[in-house]
């Protein structure tokens, strides 16, 4: 925790220093000036751990690049977005208008990211999204200056439709919170599963972030579906897998989920998660040299194991490094910069990926099985999966 403290203090010092800087008259910036990067991520609240992991991943990639991106030194401007949509527009505007950042990086919460997307679309600032999966960010709201290095909510859930069908399940029940990520995940799963010929006998929702699952477990037991698909994350995911096992359902009706069901929560879930199959764009034991090197360097630098969020932050910096190097660090010709970013082949720990036309990763989705405290990758559930980018005029 001390590292996070120090980080926030450092970030605060940085932010106040930049505020003073903004008051001084600044000459027109030459190309050799520092690259101004605005990090808008949650450093307090429920998603604090995710914001920290993304920042650390980003920093690691910059360090490996001798502290530069596209040959330019970097000046960071940091804002704690608190995962608070009500403050999101103000926070993003502060970075774009006051601090005049060249690149805006953020964030975790989908509601906050949609406000950032709006600011990016209105101001033309370059936005790199290192987590939030809201489909619209690279769908109906896609734009030449908005890139995502993580996933769309559609992506991790979609292959599960195929996995469950191939396991012989035909009638399933879905359960999730009634909110963006949950609904988009279930919708995507259902699309794949019903296309193959399976049927969803009941879609169940509970208000976010309610965790009183007992009535639903009773219903599942009486409906007796072949299997259950859920989307939950964090504390809710822990309570759900535990309740599912305590209700005696774990051995009778197989449970599947999008990878967030078992990511970062396994020690708390214990026996209740053992053996569960989930799909995600990252997992433990991905056997490539890049992943091994990344995990080793990350653990050495920060003293903790890397997770999927660290990978997404790392890839955000890799993307910027690739694109900016191609245009020699210049922001002068916007269209040249964007097409350079579109062409970057990101050599990610999750395996190499490229941008779709809508600026979302075209990536492998892994099938993972929980074993002890690890989500062991047991195969690729869907090779090079591309988000359909519904409503995006660039796709």
């Amino acid at each position: 925790m001390t590292t996070r403290r120090k980080f926030v203090q450092g970030a605060a010092a940085l932010a106040s220093a930049s505020a003073i800087g903004a008051l001084l008259p600044t000459p027109a910036r030459a190309q050799s000036a520092k690259l101004r990067i605005g990090m808008m991520l949650p450093y307090t609240g429920t998603f604090a751990a995710l914001g920290t992991a993304i920042t650390q991943g980003f920093n690691l990639a910059v360090d490996e690049n001798a502290g530069k991106l596209g040959g330019r030194d970097i000046e960071y401007f940091t804002v704690d977005d608190e995962s608070e949509p009500a403050k999101a527009t103000d926070n993003a505007n502060k970075l774009v208008q006051r601090d005049k950042v060249d690149v805006l990086v953020g964030t975790v919460h989908s509601g906050v990211v949609m406000a950032m997307v709006k600011v990016a679309r209105d101001s033309g600032a370059l936005l790199v999204i290192p987590n939030a999966g809201a489909n619209a960010a690279t769908g109906s709201q896609c734009a030449p200056n908005i890139f995502r290095t993580s996933f769309s909510n559609w992506q991790p859930a979609h292959p599960m439709g195929k996995v469950m069908y191939d396991k012989g399940h035909r009638k399933v029940v879905t359960l999730t919170w009634k909110y963006g990520a949950g609904e988009e995940s279930v919708e995507s799963f259902k699309e794949a599963f019903t296309k193959l010929g399976g049927s969803v006998v009941k879609e169940m929702y509970l208000p976010f972030p309610n965790v009183e699952f007992q009535p639903f477990l009773t219903e599942i037991a009486s409906l007796r579906p072949d299997a259950v698909f859920v989307f939950f994350a964090g504390g809710g995911a822990v309570k759900f897998t535990k309740d599912y096992m305590a209700a005696g359902l774990k051995d009778k009706i197989p449970l599947y989920g999008s990878g967030f069901l078992t990511d970062g929560t396994l020690p708390a879930q214990g026996a209740s998660a053992q053996g569960l199959l989930t799909t995600l764009h990252y997992g433990d034991g991905i056997d490539n040299a890049k992943n091994k090197q990344f995990r080793f360097a990350y653990a050495k630098k920060f003293g903790v194991q890397a997770d999927v969020y660290a990978v997404q932050g790392y890839d955000a910096a890799l993307l910027l490094a690739g694109g900016l190097t191609a245009v020699k660090g210049s922001f002068g010709e916007r269209s040249a910069l964007y097409s350079a970013l579109e062409k970057v082949k990101v050599d990610s720990p999750r395996g190499p990926w490229v941008m779709s036309k809508a600026h979302n990763p075209i990536q492998d989705i892994y099938l993972r099985r929980v074993d002890g405290n690890a989500n062991e990758v047991i195969g690729v559930a869907w090779k090079a999966l591309e988000d359909p980018a519904r409503g995006c005029k660039m796709a």
Binding site: T46, A49, P209, Q214, R224, G234, G235, L249
Partner: protein
Amino acid sequence: MEWLIQILNSVQYGLLLFLVASGLSLIFGIMGVINLAHGSFYMIGAYLGFTLAQWTGSLWIALPLGIVLAAALGLLLEWTLISKLYRRDHLYQVLLTFGLILVFEELRSVLVGDDVHGVAIPSILAASLPLTDTLSYPVYRLFISAVCLALAGLMYVVLQTTRLGANIRACASNPEMAQSLGLDIRWIHALVFAAGVALAAFAGMIAAPVSSVFPGMGNQVLIICFVVVVIGGIGSLKGALVAALLIGFVDTFGKVLFPEFAGVAVYLLMAVVLLFRPSGLFGRT
């Protein structure tokens, strides 16, 4: 059969709600203090349960230790902060206790971190009873229900039949008169506040094995606790019990029968109750 199980779910959830809300009902109802930090005390209890169970290796040892620590925290807070606000407007209490939420949440983050942690169910209660061929019922949930009933009974006996209870009720209905009759109301206030904090923490500890401990868990229970107290009627423990059970039924059957409206069912119930009984089901008018 399914409906019988759903009724069991309703009663069990309702009793859990009563356990969580009883401390708030006590503090709000008897002292008239609006305690927004109630959720934080619940969270503190859960984290105490988690930490102490790790240190001592048993939830049974952690429980009494945690209750003592929580009551001590309650006494300290009452003495240093809350007691300064009795004669002030409710708004000051709201401000202070809201500040406490932020302080406790940050302390939690610094001391324990932001990860989700599980708490093991004590082994003698870890079993499940088979209800149908597909569904079992965890024994621990039945244990929670039994604890809630015992607690409700204990609170009733203390408040209605003992001399201390009579003094507390006197303080609640007319503090000035009680003081002029020689009751030490400062002491009674401190006692009630400490008991309220201990109850919230106890609820957190008991619920930790089923709910896990995680950041922001206190804020989740805070609103529903206020709903319980408002529906039941301010100052009435009996009202809180009835309201909690009512909410248990409305929430459970709302989720099953009208899933689209499950999120608003409870608040709809509150609106209807307030429409016909503005001071709650058992509130003093």
